[in-house]
């Protein structure tokens, strides 16, 4: 009801509102416009509904009645009806407006709308049951547009008809009225459109989701896309893994590249890439070995000791280089006067020589181990006279071949040397063996080169340290160091010295750890008892032969060195289980502290007689301290469970370990 004129219910009465008196308010105007629009919409709805109900049997779906789900119906019928209705309405409105001689400002919209309707008419050609979903979607969107246009057109007609409204004796500008009316109706129109869209969308998706072909196609597409993406991701990850394992492949020309980098010292910019180059060298050897898989096959041909040796060598070289770089950087950055230079030189050579000794010790151990391994693993050496060249001589040959040759050519030479003169069967074995031992040879050769060089010669260790100050490699820093810069402060110098000490200490500690790990792993993985004994002797010789190495051995933490044999006497156990558990825990603790041999004293009741057997089994199966402790935990938990259920028939710990290790 209009607030000012409740009797007005029809468009004809609306004109009476727009009296020349101009008493009609804006609210009244909006009310009438709204009313008109609602009437138009309701009429359209009714007309559509009537047509749908009285029309073809296929017309079950409409934009407003979507209750019949799942039935196939001609979706374009609705839009068609709507289009026809809208077209008729427009025609009528246009003719009416033309007849009334009004200025039709919405002519452009009407034109567009009519054009679209005509196009719709021509395009659909009275097809009541289209099967194509695309056509269906198009028809839906067109129908919505028709509806929107119809509503807008009706509104526009209403507005235009009420433009004669005056307010306070003045005519209200048409644009103002239009704007207000449109704003008033915007919400309703949009809401209506959204509602319609959602209903239609629901129908569409409901139908589609029940279509098994469509669903399977979607799944297949998704799966294909996902599979492709997963494959890409996996490939990328593998590439990264391989690059991480093998290092960036660069143009490595010789096996001695890493060594050359090391030899070049701190002045060589390649030092930064030393580890990469070493890895590249390894990768090249991998390619030579025809290992087609990416990372593992190369490593599979190596023993654990070799892998560790390789790792330690690389690590040592990197650390060595880093340390040198650190020295260089420190010296470059913190230029000091001559008297302070002396302080630096007092620190650096001693620690450097210590580090050198440690490296030499490690290298000699690795060399010895590889040599021993070559002797032990190459039975054809003696049987095949033509291929009797030992690894030492082979490596010597490698050295003769020179650092300029690629490792591939060296490898080929190695194959030829080993395979050519011998019998065919032996040759095959030799080739297989040689493939396996190529890495050993290369490492061995590299080590020998390193050891033969003067900077790593045991005899020249001290001299080289002293010479290092005058060495051309370090001469770059010297002029800077000798510059008389008086502004260098004492505090900076002290920081520098302490930093040097700290860095050298860390470096040496790491080296010591690496060396000792190597020794332990060599001892652990060595199958030959005699070789092990020799190795230990060799290690002792190396340790005693090297002044700094011996000092380092003395100064290092006992937990990192195989300590003395330990005899344990327990005086506190009461039960058998406690006694066994105590012994096992002590065994674990002793293992953590690298006790080589643990003896238990006072086993008069025979409770610990199985302990040696257990330890042998654990060592044989490669159990670590953590593994063993976890086994003990399992036992304890099982025992708790047994106790909880009242099961008294339990195994003792050592029996359990024997059965479960």
């Amino acid at each position: 009801q209009s607030p000012s004129n409740p009797a007005t219910k029809s468009p004809s009465n609306q004109r009476s509102v727009a009296t020349p008196e101009g008493e009609c308010s804006m609210d009244d105007l909006s009310f009438y416009v709204n009313r008109l629009s609602s009437l138009v919409i309701q009429m359209a709805r009714k007309e559509i509904k009537d047509k749908l109900e009285g029309g073809s049997k296929c017309l079950h779906h409409s934009m407003y009645t979507s209750g019949d789900k799942g039935k196939t119906s001609p979706r374009s019928a609705v839009s068609k009806i709507a289009s026809e209705m809208a077209h008729e309405a427009v025609e009528l409105t246009s003719s009416e407006m033309r007849g009334n001689g009004e200025d039709c400002r919405d002519g452009r919209k009407t034109f567009l709308y009519s054009e679209m309707c005509n196009k719709n008419k021509c395009g659909e050609k009275q097809q009541m049951c289209p099967k194509d979903s695309k056509e269906f979607a198009d028809s839906i969107s067109k129908g919505l547009m028709v509806y929107a246009n119809q509503v807008a057109s009706d509104m526009m007609v209403s507005v235009m008809k009420t433009l004669k409204v005056h307010s306070c004796g003045k005519p209200i500008p048409a644009c103002v009225v239009l704007k207000r009316v449109l704003l008033k109706h915007t919400k309703e129109i949009v809401s209506d459109l959204i509602d319609s869209c959602m209903k239609n969308l629901h129908n569409i998706t409901g139908v589609l989701m029940t279509d098994s072909d469509f669903v399977s196609a979607v799944k297949r597409n998704l799966f294909n896309h996902g599979k492709q993406n997963a494959a890409d991701i996996m490939e990328a990850m593998l590439k990264r893994l391989v690059s991480a394992l093998l290092g960036e492949k660069k143009e490595t020309k010789s096996q001695s590249l890493a060594y050359a980098t090391l030899k070049a010292g701190t002045n060589d910019p390649k030092c930064k890439n030393q580890s990469l180059e070493f890895s590249a060298m390894k990768a090249e050897m991998k390619g030579k070995d025809k290992c087609k898989s990416k990372a593992d096959p190369c490593c599979k041909s190596l023993t654990s000791a070799e892998r560790v040796s390789e790792h330690i060598l690389k690590e040592s070289l990197t650390m060595w280089n880093n340390q040198k770089q650190g020295n260089q950087g420190k010296v470059t950055n913190k230029v000091c006067c001559t008297s302070k230079d002396e302080k630096r030189e007092k620190i650096s050579p001693s620690t450097d020589s210590l580090a050198k000794d440690l490296i030499v010790s490690a290298l000699m151990l690795i060399q010895y181990h590889l040599t021993q391994q070559a002797k032990g693993k190459d039975p054809c050496e003696e049987e095949c006279p033509g291929s009797s060249m030992g690894y030492m001589s082979q490596s010597a040959q490698y050295e003769k071949c020179g650092g300029g040759q690629s490792s591939k050519s060296l490898s080929m030479k190695h194959f030829e040397t080993r395979g050519a003169p011998g019998p065919s069967t032996c040759m095959k074995e030799n080739q297989l063996e040689s493939q396996k031992m190529d890495m050993s040879n290369m490492v061995l050769s590299l080590i020998q080169k390193l050891l033969s060089e003067s900077p790593f010669s045991c005899d020249e260790l001290t001299e080289s340290d002293n010479k290092r100050c005058c060495d051309p490699r370090s001469s770059k820093a010297a002029p800077m160091a000798k510059r008389p810069e008086e502004q260098c402060q004492d505090n900076a110098e002290l920081d520098f010295i302490s930093g040097m000490k700290q860095m050298n200490r860390q470096f040496i500690d790491q080296l010591v750890e690496s060396v000792m790990k190597l020794c332990l792993i060599m001892a652990k993985y060595s199958n030959n008892g005699a070789a092990l004994a020799e190795l230990e002797e060799q290690a002792a010789l190396v340790g005693s032969g090297s002044r700094c190495g011996r000092d380092a051995m003395m100064s290092q933490n006992y937990s990192e060195t195989p300590g003395p044999e330990v005899i344990v006497n327990n005086q506190c156990s009461t039960t058998n289980l406690q006694k066994q558990l105590q012994a096992v825990l002590q065994w674990i603790a002793a293992s953590q502290f690298n006790v080589p041999m643990l003896y238990f004293m006072g086993d008069d009741d025979g409770q610990l007689e199985k302990l040696p057997e257990v330890s042998a089994k654990a060592a044989e199966k490669g159990y670590s301290v953590g593994d063993l402790l976890q086994e003990v935990m399992k036992f304890a938990k099982e025992r708790q469970l047994d106790e909880a259920v009242g099961n008294m028939a339990r195994k003792q710990l050592l029996d359990w370990l024997l059965a479960n290790l």
């Binding site: 506190c572 603790a589 159990y623």
Partner: protein, 188 residues
């Protein structure tokens, strides 16, 4: 007089469950088969299994328990390592006695009591295996009474010039420890 010093607990930092160290060899001790070489004897003694009379009457450990060091008040996580600082010429065998109180085995948390015991044994090994002439060994009387002032540390080393173990006696109650104190100090 016996010197002792508190030490840090390095074994706390060990991640036992994930330690990748290999296990060592184990054998039963047979005196006849052993050659004279560098060995260490570690005697683990649970003080809660010792009766008071023995403790009070036997050896330096007992005498200390009457005075400054009362073993009955020893906490579960504490361990006292009594070390012999002099190698005997005939055997080269160094000895250490690790006194500790065994923690009750908590039936709920297996890991806790296992690690607790393991840590004590580790402390024992750690201190018993460390060189006797380490910096931890202070001169006699330097740190007298200081051990009680370091409650956060749960291991003490007590150094004696000589420790004699009576291995022939069997059973925990019959363990006899004798420690010879330094000559140039007052002997309690």
């Amino acid at each position: 007089m016996i010197a002792y010093c508190g030490t840090t607990t390095m074994s706390d930092d060990i991640d036992w469950l994930h330690s990748r160290r290999g296990v060592c060899k184990v054998d039963l001790y047979s005196p006849k088969g052993q050659q004279d070489q560098d060995r260490k004897v570690i005697c683990f003694v649970d003080v809660s299994t010792l009766n008071v009379e023995d403790k009070d009457s036997k050896g330096a450990a007992g005498s200390r328990s009457e005075g400054e060091l009362n073993l009955e008040t020893l906490e579960e996580k504490e361990i006292i390592v009594i070390k012999d600082t002099e190698k005997q010429d005939q055997s080269k065998t160094e000895g250490s006695v690790c006194l500790f109180k065994q923690a009750p085995s908590d039936p709920i948390s297996v890991l806790n009591w296992l690690l607790n015991d393991l840590q004590k044994y580790a402390l024992g090994f750690q201190h018993a295996l460390s060189p006797s002439a380490s910096s931890c060994k202070h001169k006699v009387g330097d740190l007298e009474g200081d051990y009680s002032k370091i409650p956060s540390e749960n291991c003490y080393s007590v150094y004696a010039d000589q420790v004699n173990f009576d291995y022939l006696n069997k059973g925990p109650q019959n363990l006899r420890l004798e420690m010879a104190a330094s000559k140039n100090t007052n002997n309690n």
